[in-house]
């Protein structure tokens, strides 16, 4: 099993550009998540999904969109990138939330200049 994979690993965007961060898991997990981690800080939940076709906002959803058309994939879309979105983005998955471990992808380091 590859676990959770993310692409790209690094990206530099100009202000106002858009991009999609890809996330795929091969563990047949129901739940998938997107977090952002600013330097020296903890993880903040952006969006999550409890299954294909179902998504919901987390703590910091503004400026992002998600979709989940399959169990495996959970892409994160950034529209009109801003410097405040410079961060490391982690995708994670789990069977459920409250009592199961989350498996994290390697992360995408995004810089907006």
């Amino acid at each position: 099993n590859a676990g959770v994979t993310q692409t790209p690993k690094f990206r530099i965007l100009k202000i106002g550009q858009s991009m999609t961060l890809q996330c795929t898991q091969d563990m047949n997990h129901n739940y998938m998540y997107w977090y952002r981690q600013d330097p020296g800080m903890g993880l903040k939940l952006i969006y999550y999904s409890v299954g294909a076709g179902i998504t919901d906002k987390g703590e910091v959803p503004n400026g992002y969109n998600v979709s989940r058309s399959t169990t495996e994939d959970f892409p994160l879309r950034l529209e009109l990138a801003a410097p405040s979105q410079t961060s490391v983005y982690f995708c994670a998955s789990s069977y459920f939330t409250d009592s199961y471990e989350q498996y994290f992808g390697p992360g995408t380091r995004l810089t907006v200049t």
């Binding site: 977090y35 903040k44 982690f90 471990e101 992360g107």
Partner: protein, 112 residues
């Protein structure tokens, strides 16, 4: 509601012990502990469910005090490989969205 971790940072010598605390102002259903090394993704350590059960994994163990809404992570006879940032994540007892909220982390440095 973000849990509060303490201390923010700790420096140890190999073989010394450390305790990292995580507390919440709201009733908790579960507490999760993760370790993250620099430039890497967080890695799961353990989950504690309400009921005050203590768990252990080699020389790393944790407890959950349901009355105080507090969890502690115990690192015994620390090794160089224990260095990293430790995060607790909490799931509240109430609310329909049982999502994990992470604390701001405790940076642990183990020196030879």
């Amino acid at each position: 509601q973000q849990p509060v971790q303490s201390p923010q940072a700790v420096i140890l010598r190999e073989g010394e012990d450390a305790v990292i605390n995580c507390s919440s102002s709201k009733a908790l259903y579960s507490v999760h502990w993760y370790r993250q090394k620099h430039g890497e993704a967080p890695v799961f350590l353990m989950i504690l469910l309400k009921g005050g059960e203590q768990k252990g994994h080699e020389k790393i163990s944790a407890s959950f005090n349901e009355k105080k809404q507090q969890s502690s992570l115990y690192l015994t006879a620390s090794q160089l490989s224990y260095s990293g940032t430790y995060f607790c994540g909490t799931v509240l007892s109430s609310g329909s969205a049982r999502q994990l909220t992470f604390g701001s982390g405790t940076q642990l440095t183990v020196l030879p």
